[in-house]
């Protein structure tokens, strides 16, 4: 066993922390309250190199390993970047761009990855539908060959970045009778006739990340926009969820470090009964629980990142354990932080309230906690 990070990894983590605190965090609250995507922060994330970290340099990336990418994602959360921006980053880089990178042709890679790596283009991924979530086989969106095109019909629900995406990876049924083996993935560009955003959804948390319903009505795309092999869509989606359950979880873990800092400082400044509330054991108990969760969650998330770096193809059990743990066990610490701040913690003005709201997504997105339990119990 060896839990060490390289000096380069740790140095980069520090750089991300400093960058995020200076360039992004000052605008976080205002955008969260307005429920608006922060384009300036997005551009800065791209300039800093975060959006394309793990892609090769010749495609505009930084050639980083997965562990470094996860460290960077955790550092964004630790700095106080909101869960909306980190979710947009995750959906863009991992669910969209990485899928194109892993399964696309050279032409796909050259066309899309450089633009996505810099953030010039925004990416999204569409798997979930109004009537099909974790039960992927029940997808109803169809893709049919007509002449020189694939024609898509159907709708996609809860699509992060849907309203602002320039390019989307869309999963659709090419052979409805074949169940999981009848699903394929396609690249759809913004502006394609028949592709539209029907509505944007108002959410409890991760509010700076636009979430939309996408509609495909006789949406014709070129044959070459089939991503990977026909019928391989389910396997591709399963590879993607590993990212959902590691890199996308890392900001939620980092957010607990952020809460610990905020709570420790507040508890020393806030006085009641003639002394700082940090004196009281009930307050210390909450702070200790945040730290215990943080340390336990870190190892789980890094384990998946390390497995991916080793080239181990699918790590479903490890990923589901990490996702279930981060999702369910983080509810206590984020709640405790809000309660520690008392009435202030319940107000939008204090960022612990935002972290509480953002954190509610962790047991829901990328497969609910119940779904993780189904996966774990199937594999144990």
């Amino acid at each position: 066993m060896d839990f060490s990070f390289t000096a380069e990894q740790l140095m980069f983590r520090e750089q991300v922390l400093k960058f995020a605190r200076r360039e992004i965090v000052p605008r976080v609250q205002e955008h969260d309250l307005r429920g608006e995507f922060d384009w300036e922060s997005w551009r800065k994330l791209g300039e800093f190199g975060i959006l394309g970290l793990h892609f090769p340099e010749e495609l505009g990336g930084a050639g980083a390993d997965v562990v470094t990418s996860v460290l960077a994602a955790e550092a964004l959360g630790e700095a106080g970047v909101d869960g909306g921006l980190t979710l947009s980053y995750g959906a863009h880089t991992y669910l969209c761009a990485d899928t194109i990178f892993c399964h696309g042709t050279d032409a796909h890679r050259k066309k899309y990855i450089p633009k996505l790596a810099t953030g010039e283009w925004v990416g999204c991924m569409g798997l979930t539908e109004p009537g099909a979530g974790s039960d992927v086989a029940s997808l109803r969106t169809r893709a049919e060959k007509e002449g020189d095109s694939w024609v898509l019909n159907g709708s996609k629900m809860f699509i992060t970045n849907g309203a602002i995406a320039d390019v989307a990876v869309i999963y659709a049924k090419t052979d409805p009778a074949a169940g999981h083996a009848g699903i394929s993935a396609f690249i759809v560009e913004k502006g394609t006739p028949g592709f539209s955003v029907s509505r944007s959804l108002k959410k409890m948390g991760v509010r700076t990340s636009p979430t939309s319903e996408l509609v495909f009505e006789d949406c014709a795309i070129p044959m070459e926009n089939l991503l990977g092999q026909k019928g391989n869509g389910f396997l591709m989606a399963m590879q993607t969820v590993e990212w959902d359950r590691s890199a996308l979880m890392a900001p939620f873990v980092g957010a607990i470090s952020f809460l610990i800092q905020r709570c420790c400082r507040y508890a020393q400044e806030r006085e009641q009964f003639g002394r700082p509330i940090a004196y009281f054991q009930g307050i210390k108990h909450k702070i200790a629980n945040m730290k215990i969760f943080l340390e336990a969650a870190r190892s789980l998330v890094y384990r998946i990142a390390w497995c991916k770096d080793q080239g181990r193809p699918l790590n479903h059990l490890e990923a589901a354990v990490a996702k279930l743990f981060v999702g369910d066990w983080s509810l206590g610490p984020t709640n405790d932080a809000m309660v520690l701040f008392g009435g202030y913690g319940y107000c939008h003005e204090y960022d612990v309230e935002r972290v509480f709201r953002d954190g509610r997504l962790a047991p829901i997105g990328g497969g609910t906690s119940d779904v993780q339990k189904v996966i774990i119990s199937r594999l144990m």
Partner: protein, 380 residues
Amino acid sequence: MNFDWTPEELKVKNSVKGLFDDVSLAELLALGESDAQELKRVTGNWLKRLAETGYLDLRIGPSNRSDMPRLIAGQEELAIASGSLFLSVEATARLFGGVIAAFGDDAHVGDVLGLLQKGEIIGAVAVSEPEELNAAHGFLTVGRSDGTGYLVNGRKSFVTNGPIADYIAVFGSVDGQTAIFLVEPDFPGVVIGPRIRTLGFDGLAVASMELNDVRIPQNRVLGPFDDNAPLELLRTMEDMVLAIGSVGLMETTVRAALAYARSHQRGGKAIFGHQEIRFKLAEMLTMSQSSRLLAHRAGWLLSVSDPDALAVVRCAKVFAAESSEKVASMAMQIMAGQGYCRGNVIERGYREAKYAAIAGTTSEVARMAIADDLLEWYKV
């Protein structure tokens, strides 16, 4: 970074695991019915077998902390085989041996260490006292110098291995400073109390002891020390032992509950087929895996003398101890009436699971220490 066992770690793991077969496991289960004399014989035999694998050499003194990962690899297997034997062996090797190795020199204790490495003696450490133990005020067990040695008086409670030990390292005070007296049970004035009946760990011999004008020669006294280092080292080692013990216990109870859930039929199918049961098992595995990874990382941080190591050890101990209680309770719920009957793995695990949160640094003391560290780190 490496989340796998290295070949060296695997060697220890497999050699410890290889010592146990059905016959020896049955012998260990019967330990609960044994008197102290029989316990001493059986424990002594196991120490000799473990000595042949090199397991007893793996100690954490300040000088050989790098052994921690190999040690943990072996500890897990021993804890899975028998919780009672594990705690008894660890009290000898890591607590007694650890303190002697760290603070004694050859002139004082070279012979004792040699015997210990060969598995020829059983050791114990006596720390707790019936009256409040407070490091700031020192121990109430006191040694007074008579020129060539010390006369020691005091009372100690909950001495693990007390009734079967050949040597007991008794913590006491000399002029307000901590000293360690190497006591043999047949020294005049030493009274070992009757074996205490405890909730769990039926095969572990625990007793209180009294020292009435016990004369300890100078070459059997370590210290006095002008800091609290011996007690801190002891607590850290003990907390690691308890964390790994909890991990082993969880492994045992999850395995037993899973086997039962797969074989026991209700509603026309194995109860594992019901989500109420399999979701519990998924949560149990999640707690078990996250505790295990956290305990591993805590041990690894100790092995590289990381400044955050003590904090993470405390987190690991609290989390693993409390998780093992929850896991044991859920396992009992799954096994229901069968589990509630005396004499099965889950019933035994349920009784044993309470111990780790109480022993070593209690969960309450650990949480306050974790929070105090953080409050100091983020001092306003």
